[in-house]
């Protein structure tokens, strides 16, 4: 029976030679790059956001493929999830017809092209300069885990042995973590302060009319109009 099964699958044998990891890497990389190019080429804001989601999602796929699940999930949570808000803004903006399609002026395109090329050159240069990546053969990866990272954030380094720093205990990231979180809290409070509804104490219509004594005709009309607009506007 085993022989039959094997014989039945002989036509599949060429697939065995395929480097599946490399194939998936190329697939995700192609999606990431292609979608990124589409972000630039599309002129509809919402479609741009969708392509951006695709590109960032494929990048998360690359992280998962490399075995760094924590970074991959982070990528999904922060970048892809953050694009959600971008998408909402896109939808809100395109409610007005003049913004439905965004066209970039040619001069801006040239400028952006130069900038992108410069950035690309820097990235390629720094990527190539990593010694370990230039050696032939495959790098060995250990199955990573989020635990050492989490422990380091609360101030305990458990990865010291692996890195060979047994003599000197590594310091954790508790202080930077706290500074960043306090910073974020300040930003949140600031945002809430800036975005809060500005409430002015406006006298109600009845008080307004009662306070005008005696009413000069012009002023009374303007005040009545003002209080009416306040009422219509729903201000308190």
């Amino acid at each position: 029976m085993t022989e039959c099964l094997l014989a039945a699958t002989t036509w599949l044998l060429p697939f065995a030679a395929i480097d599946w990891h490399g194939l998936f890497f190329l697939l995700f990389a192609a999606i990431a790059c292609g979608a990124a190019i589409m972000v630039v080429l599309t002129d509809n804001v919402v479609r741009m956001a969708l392509h951006l989601v695709l590109s960032l999602g494929a990048t998360a796929g690359l992280f998962f493929l490399a075995g760094s699940e924590f970074v991959g999930a982070m990528q999904l949570m922060i970048y892809v999830g953050g694009t959600l808000v971008l998408l909402v803004f896109g939808v809100m903006l395109t409610a007005q017809t003049q913004l439905v399609s965004l066209r970039t002026p040619a001069a801006d395109r040239v400028l952006a092209g130069i900038l992108a090329a410069a950035l690309f050159a820097v990235l390629v240069q720094s990527a190539v300069s990593v010694e370990a990546w230039r050696r032939p053969g495959r790098a060995e990866v250990s199955a990573p885990t989020a635990t050492p990272l989490g422990m380091a954030l609360v101030g305990v380094r458990v990865d010291g042995d692996a890195a060979g720093h047994e003599s000197r205990p590594l310091s954790g990231y508790l202080l930077p973590f706290e500074i960043v979180s306090v910073h974020l809290l300040v930003v949140l409070i600031g945002a809430a302060y800036l975005a809060r509804a500005k409430r002015r104490r406006t006298p109600r219509a009845v008080e307004l009319v009662a306070s005008v004594d005696p009413p000069p005709p012009v002023q009374a009309r303007s005040e009545a109009g003002e209080s009416a607009s306040v009422l219509v506007g729903g201000g308190r």
């Binding site: 990891h21 490399g22 969708l50 493929l65 699940e69 999830g81 808000v85 909402v88 939808v91 060995e140």
Partner: protein
């Protein structure tokens, strides 16, 4: 299972891994699709009983149990309509985005000890992150439909989901803190034993936070009383007003899939996962208490346990839907920002203090040490075999941990 195929039948390893991955994907897809069929029927029957009606009675003989199948055939045969002003690509894509997000999250959900599509060591985080992507489909559908009802629905959904992710995240962190791990398998494993080991009964704070989680979960999967995105009394059908036929049914499968998923997540995080209220298996002597050596039947029992808990969660959602009236958008926001978030934050602090001062519970020695994983790490042991150095390319990294029921 893959090792079994390789060693016993002698399949080449790449084929064995692919076969196992295909089987896992097939099973998960059927949990969603088959589950949706059952749940839609159940929802009709429950709604009918709550409203003093009979519900479907004819299709398929008694109880109308084939009603969902008949509906499915009807949906297949329906014309696939698209409004004139719609953005064609996005309109067609949106249902699949929703469904894929719902489906992807199932990959990391453990059904029993080794019955998990992909055991991620950040499983909780992954599930929550992917579940948040489902809203993309809704927003795209709302935008692309070129209909004001749809757009209103999508905007409401966006506001709701972005707000409810905050308390939901806080609730999810509590079991993570108790277990000392983000791995869903580890979290459920820590609640093994009697009913009292479940995290919902860990202390008063977790009991409260379970209900906060459930409220936020109902809101995040867009079910009544939080179904503002499709409020049919105001917005016709909200974001899926313009959809018909199979595309519409994809939205529904995604919704029922997500309902099942958040309920299963609640079961894993708070209700002991696949561990039943009574440790039958170890009482009968089928297993010595550790899941690694548990025989096949025990794992099947675990599967049934988890599915039962998740189904119960879904049924409660239906009960809520047909009992409570829909909230207004400002009430939804108030519930989230003024009630759920502060309660979750307080309970989080409470659980933290409880862990500091009463780590053994009120009755000393009655439960596992919750922080055992951390100590294990500090001593360099690790509760799992940490790193089998797998050279890249030998096995696809994504299928490295695809484990069915390994024997």
């Amino acid at each position: 299972m893959a090792e079994f195929l390789i060693e016993t039948i002698g399949l080449p390893s790449w084929l064995a891994w692919t076969a196992v991955a295909a089987v896992a994907a097939f099973l998960i897809l059927n949990v969603i699709a088959g589950g949706a069929l059952v749940f839609i029927w159940a929802e009709r029957k429950i709604a009918a009983r709550i409203q003093d009606r009979l519900g479907p009675t004819r299709t398929g003989g008694r109880f109308g149990w084939l009603q969902s199948l008949a509906d499915g055939i009807k949906l297949l045969a329906k014309e696939d309509l698209m409004p004139d002003g719609a953005d064609g690509m996005l309109f067609r894509l949106a249902p699949y985005v929703s469904f894929c997000a719902s489906f992807c999250a199932f990959i990391a959900l453990p059904f029993a000890f080794d019955v998990v599509g992909l055991r991620l060591n950040v499983g909780v985080f992954f599930v929550v992150a992917v579940l948040g992507l489902e809203v993309f489909g809704v927003i795209l559908a709302g935008y692309a439909s070129a209909s004001k009802w749809s757009l209103f629905g999508a905007m409401r959904e966006a506001a709701q989901v972005v707000s409810y992710e905050v308390p939901l995240g806080m609730c999810v962190v509590v079991p993570v803190m108790l277990a000392g791990s983000m791995d869903l398998v580890t979290i459920a494993e820590k609640q093994a034993g009697w009913l009292t080991n479940w995290y919902i009964f860990h202390d008063p704070f977790t009991f409260v936070i379970f209900w906060v989680y459930y409220t936020c979960a109902v809101a995040s999967v867009n079910r009544a009383p939080f179904d503002l995105a499709e409020a049919e009394s105001e917005l016709v059908a909200g974001f899926h007003t313009e959809y018909s036929g199979l595309r519409w049914s994809f939205f529904f499968m995604a919704e029922y899939g997500s309902m099942f998923l958040v309920s299963a997540l609640a079961a894993v995080l708070f209700l002991g996962g696949w561990n039943g209220p009574v440790p039958i298996a170890s009482l009968l002597g089928w297993s010595d208490g550790s899941s690694l050596s548990a025989p096949y039947a025990v794992r099947l029992l675990g599967c049934a346990n988890l599915m039962g808990k998740a189904t119960a969660g879904v049924l409660v959602m239906m009960w809520i839907r047909w009992t409570l009236p829909r909230l207004r958008i400002d009430q939804v926001m108030t519930t989230c920002l003024k009630y759920c978030t502060p309660i979750a934050a307080l309970m989080f602090a409470g659980v933290m203090l409880w862990q500091l001062f009463l780590p053994g519970g009120l009755i000393p020695g009655s439960r596992h040490q919750a922080a055992a994983v951390r100590e294990a790490w500090l001593e360099g042991r690790g509760d799992r075999v940490p790193s089998t150095n797998v050279p890249l390319g030998v096995v696809p990294a994504t299928s490295r941990q695809v484990v069915g029921v390994s024997q």
